[in-house]
Symmetry: C2
Subunit: 460 residues, 2 copies
Amino acid sequence: MTKRTLLALAALALPFPLLAQHDPAAIQQKALGDDTAYGIVEDLTTEIGPRLAGTEREAAARAWAVERLKAMGFSNVRIEPFDMKTWVRGIETAEITGPFTGKMHISALGNSASTGDTGLEAEVVYFRTLADLQAAPAGSLRGKIAFVSHKMTRTQNGASYGQFGGVRRAGPSLAAQKGAAAIVIRSVGTDYHRNPHTGGTNFPEGVTPIPAAAISIPDAENLERMIARAAKKGEAVKMKLVLTPRQIGTTQSGNVIAEVPGSDPNAGMILVGGHLDSWDLGTGAIDDGAGVAISAAAAKLIMDAGTPKRTIRVVWFGAEEVGLFGGIAYAKKHGAAGHALAMESDFGADRIWQVDFKLPDGTDDLKTRIANALAPLGIGRSNQPAGGGPDVGPTVALGVNAIDLQQDGTDYFDLHHTPDDTLDKIDPKKLQQNVAAWATVLSIVANDPADLLPKGKAGD
Amino acid sequence: MTKRTLLALAALALPFPLLAQHDPAAIQQKALGDDTAYGIVEDLTTEIGPRLAGTEREAAARAWAVERLKAMGFSNVRIEPFDMKTWVRGIETAEITGPFTGKMHISALGNSASTGDTGLEAEVVYFRTLADLQAAPAGSLRGKIAFVSHKMTRTQNGASYGQFGGVRRAGPSLAAQKGAAAIVIRSVGTDYHRNPHTGGTNFPEGVTPIPAAAISIPDAENLERMIARAAKKGEAVKMKLVLTPRQIGTTQSGNVIAEVPGSDPNAGMILVGGHLDSWDLGTGAIDDGAGVAISAAAAKLIMDAGTPKRTIRVVWFGAEEVGLFGGIAYAKKHGAAGHALAMESDFGADRIWQVDFKLPDGTDDLKTRIANALAPLGIGRSNQPAGGGPDVGPTVALGVNAIDLQQDGTDYFDLHHTPDDTLDKIDPKKLQQNVAAWATVLSIVANDPADLLPKGKAGD
């Protein structure tokens, strides 16, 4: 090799911005062998673990995230803090005290009131559905524990969560308004393990919160059997509840932001992400360690392939689980301006099976190119509009475009908000399929000439 | 119909002992539609629930069992009590205190010592296998918590439990002898849920018991990752353990016995059963509610078909989990005399896939008839000798014949000794296949002319 050749080679390594060489097929192939995303989830779940919104653990996760995103080579890594009202878990036990016996596996719902340290013992009143609770006469639950069951079943697109999640979201305030001393629900889930599913509930202004908790599905079915047997003898089942969660006032949360700067500031940026906070029972692997990992790993693949036309902004949102606080704070601060597209990953780590679009008129060719590029991953195109997900939802609602890469949710509610949301539930190959799909979409949209800037609410 | 015909028909209904009409194929068919066994497990798990050996709950189960077996029509229903030393669970928590954080799902092993109410905080020392712990230098664990992992995998015949169960059975006494302050093991199981697997351990005479507990498999794998990461920085992982079980001294347990009297007292009886006690974390559905239900439901089918030649004795043994105390007490009291055969069900509620024999020479035709009659249930014949199971084992060891109807154990160690051992894990159709196999064997052996009486140790 001559000295001149060596100098020429050295010149190629100079830190000039590379011209984008974004071959979607090549990036997709690279993603299928890339373990960046798995490494992020593994490190986050092992070194940080559960990270309830507004707590010191979520703050530790943010500090970890800043270091990690910087180490990955992203630009403009920063935290955008916001304040929130924070609820934390206490002791939680439940025991049947008559006419049968037995301990139930229970978990308080977010915003549950406390029973006090000495607990609460009361008769259990059974409702098959939320509608049955709604039909109960006013005052009929005074001094009693309402128990609301349901028949949630698994669905690929997670649609059943809309219906049956209502038991958790609305059940407690309904029971409180009917005078109940407390409410216990069948976990909103599809598994059969002694792992209760937590999740947020809300007591509207003027409704005094009551203790509210979920029991595991095996426990719920056992309780139903106990109630039926006791009723035959004209008796009621009694339960002793001890739940000592508390509201700790205003604390700080925040969104962690990192960027792959694009070559054309006028083309609008692509907002991608998931949420960094997690419920406190598991280690937040599928909800939503996977989502932050997928979005960042895909953005890094684009960065490594050379400067894209559009900036890619990765946001790891704070405080999603307890009220979408991070997504709301982001939309309030940044508005729609300058956002060409928003995408979010927050439905586990199973394979992506479908792509949905919310893109302006005149982008049929772009959609077709995306769908064709995703087809080798087994992903089909849908006719339903993209929604964007809970964190980017407030931004999308301002008129920003969205593409949803729908994950298979068939098994998602086996794990959702349970102690079982741990690293071992993630199949590295499926996670790579997610990253490959994301990187494919980003490689196309980040360099596309289409005008994707929001046109205000009229263009929504 | 003439009056004479009516009288003749009425005479047929008189309560004379019916001659046995034991058509194995007909009984098998009836069993496949019989829900007696499921009813027993459902009632036992709902109305009694967990029933730890030697406790008031096991006594409640015995009282329930006597009523149930009488109501089913069995004769000579009685309890044979015995004394035992009893251990009960207390509080149990485990938390990583450095350099990472996180709560672990933990359960004390039977006979574990207490840490005291204030607990114990110490460095964790990791061993990949029991052999690695065994190789640790004497005194090297002083003041530390030994953590022993393993790689148990699922097997159809449960053979892996022999190898990997050693971590639970022998690990604690080994760690104690090496000066460890406590021991934590990876649960001896094959699932990936946050449900620890309890089970008995033993500290031989002269070895002072230490706190000993199992963490769930997701927790064990997370702890391994934490230890590896801490080691890279030259640090050790620290754990805070609170375990407050205690020995409560001598209490009473007992075996519950019920019989289908045979027409020929000299033909020897058939001993069948399972164990009534259960570990305290689940409700004892598959271990061993299923076993007591299968054996009694099969015996009832024979009783309902008419008096058999041989007496069938159903024994629901006490205190199996904590040291086979019921089986040992039974063998001590009754010896081998008068027992033609022993059979036990104590490996869950999955399908029976294989039959093993331990029968005297000259019974090849009997074995072939049994195997042929089981073949329609998908059960194959093996060449390995029957062992009889843990409860009837002490009796079989005295020279009594045995037939094993082997249940498929592929998923058994997902549930074994965990909170997840609940009714919903039982497939009613599979339970019926078990009862059908049992009733088939009983219908043949209970009426067979072969001499099956024990000939002393020489005939063993």
